[in-house]
């Protein structure tokens, strides 16, 4: 899952050190990119924020874009790590609901990271970009799988195309919380937001709702 990191070449050999320094860089990157965006952040600022010199920064990356790539990759990793536990087992609606709730709480925790990722993604070099899109695909797949289980178990009645599209919908509805924060956060708590969205989604999926959520 983390093999993406290996795409970025280093001249340093000590693996542990690489991990440590990259963690510092990523932290600095996230912080600065969310504040001023990728393009307005200089490599010197990244190095300084990371706690080392510009020379050292370039011992661990080849280009500025590498930092962005590392940042995106690490965000995905973290989201993945936190999400993948919620696998589909029995195909119950309860399972679906907890997955959604869990995912939305992750979004809430990592709002800045999400915003950074979706806004700067296009600055990635071609190769890195397709790598990132593949990751995104993998994430959607999680919900697709859960929906599939619910269909299999008879809890939902959706065809292939609906499953695929609505997996994206669930995803997108959550990301709203990060992208439209300027409109939503002043009116809703994350809990209320989640409750309303879960209800909307379940109905949207055609679940025979009695009094769930």
């Amino acid at each position: 899952m983390t093999e993406g990191k290996h795409l970025v070449k280093t001249s340093v050999k000590d693996e542990q050190l690489i991990t440590k320094r990259r963690q510092q860089m990523i932290g600095a990157g996230v912080k600065l990119f969310k504040e001023k965006g990728f393009h307005r952040t200089t490599t010197r600022e990244i190095a300084k924020e990371a706690g080392f010199s510009i020379g050292t920064l370039y011992e661990y990356i080849r280009t500025k874009e590498d930092v962005l790539y590392l940042v995106c990759d690490s965000i995905y990793d973290e989201v993945f790590e936190r999400i993948e536990s919620v696998g589909a087992k029995n195909g119950t609606l309860d399972e679906l609901v907890s997955a959604i709730r869990y995912y939305y709480s992750v979004i809430n925790d990592m709002q800045d990271e999400f915003v950074v990722m979706y806004q700067e993604t296009k600055s990635l070099p071609k190769e890195a970009l397709s790598y990132v899109l593949r990751k995104e695909e993998e994430m959607t797949a999680i919900f697709r799988t859960i929906l599939q289980s619910c269909v299999t178990s008879g809890e939902l009645s959706l065809n292939e195309r609906e499953i695929d599209l609505y997996a994206h919908s669930i995803f997108t509805q959550g990301q709203m919380w990060a992208y439209r924060r300027w409109a939503l956060h002043k009116n809703y708590s994350i809990d209320e937001f989640t409750d309303l969205q879960v209800a909307f989604i379940l109905r949207g999926l055609g679940a025979r709702t009695k009094g769930e959520l």
Copy 2:
């Protein structure tokens, strides 16, 4: 609606000329920003694409950000112009459905513009940013109003908070078509996408669907 343009200072007097030149700049801006993003586009390129010299460009703007602002403003104007016709009159679900369908077709027509707008928005100077967010607010308001009518007419049963949030949802579900094009366009036509989304939304809103599209 277009008063936003007045925020950008000019040293030229002739109003007609200003309008013409700005139209040229905006066209160039949209084209270039969608191709390479705001930061990777130079003012020289904008001027060239617009058909005049940088010197002239700077007679009509003060900073490069002004171009971005003008571009965003013009996109909003166009979207607005095309959307606002669909006002709520009787509060029927049909009305809601056509509004959604109409909006989604606008998104389809202006995909690049949407992507540009949402990805570069944060590069706007503070003042322009809040102006843009206000526009965004106004747009959401259109759907809020329609939903409200449907509630008033008894077609839907939603409270204030639901109306507000679900207006955002409808919006976001449509934008998916632009932002997740890499995943959606290869599998769905805009028509199928719209059909599926409309169905999802109507159910999500708790409409007593019998067999409507």
Copy 3:
């Protein structure tokens, strides 16, 4: 002859200005390269010496190597301009001797330029390098032609291969004056050097010398 200059792209349109600025750049380049070599000279120094800003410098060139190329090109042009007058007409030894003498005086006048050219030439990008070598070839051709005339007129008796090689020899013997200046200038005046070399060459070519030079 000067079409080489057109290989270097400019963003300035005024042809006269281009010529003027390039003249300034070339002057600065020759001076600095001869002092500290191409690699130890910075673009900022070139701009400063040329009398304009770094920004302006880059309005007239694309890369630092362009300056080197322009310098080499201009040196060739000047040498050419001064040499080509000495065309072979009757194929007399006198003609050959004056050509040699003339060429050697040019070398003496442009010692620094010669040294710069031969020492930095390999820093040129591939394309420019082959352009320069073609020029060098053209110069050798001048002496080849003269030798040929002398053979035709019966003043010398050389075969094709000898003509070709000895043209290079004449060339090289002159360049010695620039490259081995540290050894030669303290012992010889340019006149004595020329006299001795002319005598050496004439004998070397097998000319029936009576009391020439």
Copy 4:
């Protein structure tokens, strides 16, 4: 002859090790400098090619220029070693001819080294530069001595100034083979080149040629 090496300071004591390491550095230096020139070669590359770390490299030199100096010095040593056997004994023309032939074959064997030396020499620090020029002087002296013997023995008739200058000429004519390889190698074999040059030189020196070479 090798005392030049002592100009380069070391922090290592073991003399044998110093010699070994330097041999490695010089090998790396020659290879890299001939490929990409002194300035385009980094110390890291030199260390890597030499088979040890930059840390170690800097235990044996003080600055990057030291490597260049060591390389030049070693090239001179090798040329010297191979040339000095050809001492003047009897002052016959045959001796002169074999010396020339021998020298030209050395040039042919070490073309790259010659090119490196003459092109990078000016990057040497002052002190090292004059050391190198002294070496060059010593080499010319070899031919001067041979010419002198020939004069003494009556085989040639040259005055002091001619002897001195023509020693340089013989030298330069040979170096042509390395410097103008782009023009010469495609048309001549080293043997033909040598034959033609020897003939030219002998005649140039005024030797009473019958049918030698």
